[in-house]
Each structure stands twice: as C-alpha cells, then as structure tokens.
Symmetry: C2
Subunit: 327 residues, 2 copies
C-alpha cells in the first residue's frame, strides 16, 4: 500500500509544516487546531490523495482537498460529541468539555466554511466539481446522522433502513473522497463513478466491521470497552439480524433488553445477555458475510477501472486492511 502510506505521510507533513488556519480570534481557531491535533488515522485525506495518484494525478495535488475533508470530518466529530454528550475523544477531553458548548458549536460551524475555502484553491473548473460532490455528500451525511438519532427511538427499523443510514452517515464521505481525488486528477465521469462506488461499498463494509468490533472486539485493541452500541440500544445490523432470526422468546427478551435503561438493569449484565443471544443466533457470521458481499462489490468496481494492475492491487489491499482491521 505504498501510495496510501505515502499519502498519509505527505498529509501529516502538510499538517505539521505550517498553520493552515488564521490566528485571530484565537478563541475561534484554537479549538479547531485542538481537535485536528488529536490525531486520527487520516484515512479520508489519504484516500483522496491516493485516489488522485491512482487516477493519474500527483499525491500532493490532493493536499488542499484532503485538508478540506479532514476539517469537515472533524467538524462532524465535534458536533456529534456535543449531541452525544461525550466527554472524551481519542483519549482527550472533547472540545465542548475542554472549552464550552458554545465554543464547540461556533468553531464547528466555521470549520464547515473553512473546508470550502480549501476546495476553492483549485482551478475554477476543478473547484466547482469538487464543491458539488462535497456539498451533496455533506447533506447526505447530515441526513444519515439524523436517521441514526431517529433509529434510537424507533421500533420499526429494518435492515434496509440500517444500510441506508450507514451509507449516508459513513460511506458517502469515503466515496466522495475517492471521487474528489479522481476529479483533481482530471479523470472522466465513468472513472469517477467507479471510484465513488468503490469508496461507498468499502465504507459500508467498514461500518459493519465497526459494529462487529464494538460488540465482539478486544477492548485492549479497540481502545474502549466493547458493548457500547448495546448499552446505547443502537439498532445495528447485529441487532436487526438477531431480531429476524430469533424465536418468539428470544425476540421478547431482546426487545425488553433494548427498552431497558441504566436505572433498571446492570449494564454489564445487559451486554452479556445480548451478546449471548447474538452468539446463539450466529449473527456475527451473518455480519461477516454481508461485509464480504460489500467488499466484493467494491472490488468489482476496482476491476473496471482503466489503471495499472499494481494500483488495483493496492486498492484491494487497502480495502482489506480497512475491513479486516481489529481496531
């Protein structure tokens, strides 16, 4: 995965090389530097820059757009943390805890517009295409986040609803990164479509893996206690598939557990009981099969690209790394 690794390195160098934000008012820009400085895998800018290279451009041509998507991604994390009332992010205080909620709202808002400033750094013909893809994606992501919130309160969620939600909440950003890299490289619409679909389907597989790790992952590897989704009554694929496969008795128990709250049941006991039902119904196996299906779909789009075989091999290796990761 030479190009992906080079992209990550190049992006980290770019971040470290100079201040990409204005200095003043520091009360607006400091929280932004703080959350960007918390780190992360930089998957999104790296994907964008690598996609540019795979599509015939240079890795560094994707730097400004890479910064735009990294700023945007962190904007969503910042506002999500307020909405989830989360105290920590990557082991450090969240922005609204370190500063305050109003700072987190306002600095987050300005990040949305700063992202566009970086998309405007290209030739107008490129910029306008990037902005069209980016804006549509941003709205879809807000819709996905909204659905995720709605599903916590709803009894009527189907597997299809869930897949629609994670497509918007997670996948369209990866898909847009792939397409934006291709746009910068000057690739045609057919090529753009294939890399977009690759990113989208990999994103869905990535999210299913995330759900599996959240419930069955090794706490020492994933860096947090597993079972968080169960605690929060998240209607993940695991839960929805379990409902589908369950006997009447198991279904009743699951529904009861997912309607419980911290007041009337011990969290650890709840997680253990749900996990036991999941294990009985082998839903992890179903989830793995679904994940593989989306990965195959993603790879089918790679095969249709008119690029060097070595690039195709890299893309496939990267998707395996993303989807088979244990953290």
């Amino acid at each position: 995965m030479q190009i992906i690794n080079e992209s990550i390195l190049e992006f980290e160098n770019y971040l470290a090389s100079e201040n990409h934000l204005p200095q003043s008012p520091s009360s607006l820009y400091e929280p932004i530097n703080y959350i960007i400085g918390l780190g992360g895998k930089r998957v999104r800018p790296a994907l964008l820059m690598a996609s540019c290279a795979y599509s015939g451009g240079q890795i560094r041509d994707g730097l400004n757009a890479g910064f735009a998507v990294e700023i945007f991604h962190n904007f969503t994390l910042l506002h999500d943390d307020i909405m989830d009332n989360a105290d920590t992010r990557r082991g450090q205080a969240t922005v609204h805890k370190k500063y305050d909620v109003n700072s987190a709202i306002l600095s987050g808002d300005s990040m949305a517009f700063i992202a566009y400033q970086y998309l405007l750094k290209y030739n107008p013909e490129i910029s306008i295409e990037l902005i069209a893809v980016f804006s549509r994606m941003a709205i879809e992501l807000c819709e996905g986040q909204r659905l995720d919130m709605d599903f916590e309160q709803s009894e009527q969620v189907t597997i299809s609803d869930y897949l629609h939600m994670i497509t918007n909440k997670t996948s369209v950003l990866l898909a847009a990164c792939m397409q934006m890299g291709a746009i910068i490289a000057g690739a045609d619409k057919a090529h753009q479509k294939h890399v977009y679909e690759f990113g989208k389907n990999i994103g869905i597989a990535f999210q299913i893996q995330d759900d599996i790790l959240d419930t069955f992952g090794d706490a020492s590897l994933i860096g947090k206690k597993s079972g968080g989704d169960i605690s929060q009554n998240k209607k993940t694929y695991l839960y929805l598939k379990a409902l589908e496969l369950s006997t009447d008795q198991q279904k009743e128990e699951l529904l009861l557990l997912y309607n419980s709250n911290a007041d009337n049941i011990d969290e650890e006991e709840k997680i253990a009981k749900v996990r036991k039902i999941f294990n009985t119904l082998v839903v992890e196996e179903y989830a793995n099969q679904l994940k593989e299906a989306y990965m195959d779909l993603a790879i089918s789009h790679v095969r249709q690209l008119d690029i060097a075989q070595s690039f195709k091999d890299e893309l496939i290796a990267f998707s395996e790394y993303l989807v088979k990761r244990s953290n």
Copy 2:
C-alpha cells in the same frame, strides 16, 4: 423603492410556490421549514435580488442565491439562539425549544450545506464567484460572532474593536448580498466593489441604529422590551462612547453596573441608571452622528456606480429606510 419591494414580493412568492427542501428525513427538514416560516423582513435576499436588477440583471435571476443567503441567515439565527439560550424568536418558540438542542444543531448544520446547493444552481463561472464571496463572508461572520461573545467577558474593548466586530457580525452579510447580486448580473469587479462597500457601510449604520433602538427604542414599536443590551452587559458603541466621555465617578458607576448580575441588582433599576448616564453624556447623539457618517460613506459608493440615476435614488432611499427605521 420599487425594485426592492418587487424583490421582496418575488422572494415571498418563490418561498410559497413550492417546497425548496427535501421531504425526508422530516426530522431534519421540518425544523428548517419552521424557522424559515417564522418570517422576517427578507432584507438579505431582497437586497441580493435588487442588486442584481440595479446591476443590469433580472430580479428573478437572484432567487436561488437569495434563498441561499436566507437559509444561511436563518442558520446563524438558529445556532445563535442555542448559544444565547433564547426561548423565543419572532414571538414563537426557538427551534431548540420547539424541538430539542440536538435537532437545532444538526438541522442548522445541514442549512449551511443547503445554501451551497442553491449557489451551485448557476453557470459554473458564476457559481464559483458566488461561492468564493459567500464562503469568505461566512467565516468573517463566525469571527464576528466569536468576538461578540468574547467582548461580553472583556474589559478591554475599544470603539475600534466594536466596529470591527459589528462589521463582521452584521455588515459583511449585507455586503456579500450586494456583491452576489452584481456577480449574477455579470457586473465587473469595480462595480462589485462599490456595491459591496455600500452594503458593508449600510450594515454598520444599520447595526448602530439597532443598538440605539435596543436602548432608547419604543418597546411597542421594536416588539420587545428595550434595554436588553444593557441587561446583557453588551459593549455597544453607546456604552463604549459613554466610558470615553464619562467623569471618573460616572465611569466607576458604569463599570460597576456592567459587572453586576441579576442577583445583586434589580434589572429595571440597572437599565434606568445606565440610560440616565447615557442621556447625561448625550451618547445617542454621538451614535447618530457616527451612523450618518457610515451612511454618507455608503452613499458615496452608490454615486460612483455606473447605473441609472433612478436606481441610485432607490438605493439611497432604501438605505435611509434601513437606517432610520424605528423598529
């Protein structure tokens, strides 16, 4: 003010004619329709559309960009209301009160991106110029909002700081509306600059008038109790000028009053005491003079425009309407 009035009418018709937002998820889009439906003077889209007509285009050519700025303006109101913990807006419940804070954050976020979708409805060469002006303005507005928040806690605010703050918080949006209308009409850079400067200086005069009305306005006309800025210890021009002109004793009293809070002084008594000092020092008169100076500056840019005299007369009449209003 025929063109301005036609613009308002055309914009209201456009709003009423069809649904400009997606239907689903309704939990995301309903709060947006709610706040847009609360009304308002539609000053910003009307200015944009009228500027387009004054600059040689058609009023209706500004509709999509007008919708973009109206959505953006309401996004700022929506998030400001969360930050100010405001219960009502235009006599109705604020979005975070009617729905909840998370809905207000997320629906607000999506409004920022919806604005761009509407700016993308023009030819690419026009769109990219609109987006550049709009994005820079949006960041300046966030900076202005941040300064406004910071000033509430600071003892070191100068009149120059205040003017910088209101320029960003209020004026650059009106300035950008004027410029965007001119861009759509295909006007050259010199013309764009003059209409931008007109909008900016009128915006400053508008905000000074707002501050005067907040402190000295007739409650039955402004639709709220006057004295709100004094209650909130806002460092308006009136306050800063009063500090500059005050005797040592008056200064001490003012500082004491502005460091007080609801626990240790009656609000009505505080407002009356501050107003009395303001009256003794005739700061309202100074504010009116400053307002007139910015209005003259605005009008000087109108005079330099290469447009029909009747259009210039309209712009001047409109600025007088905005700045001399009593509500």
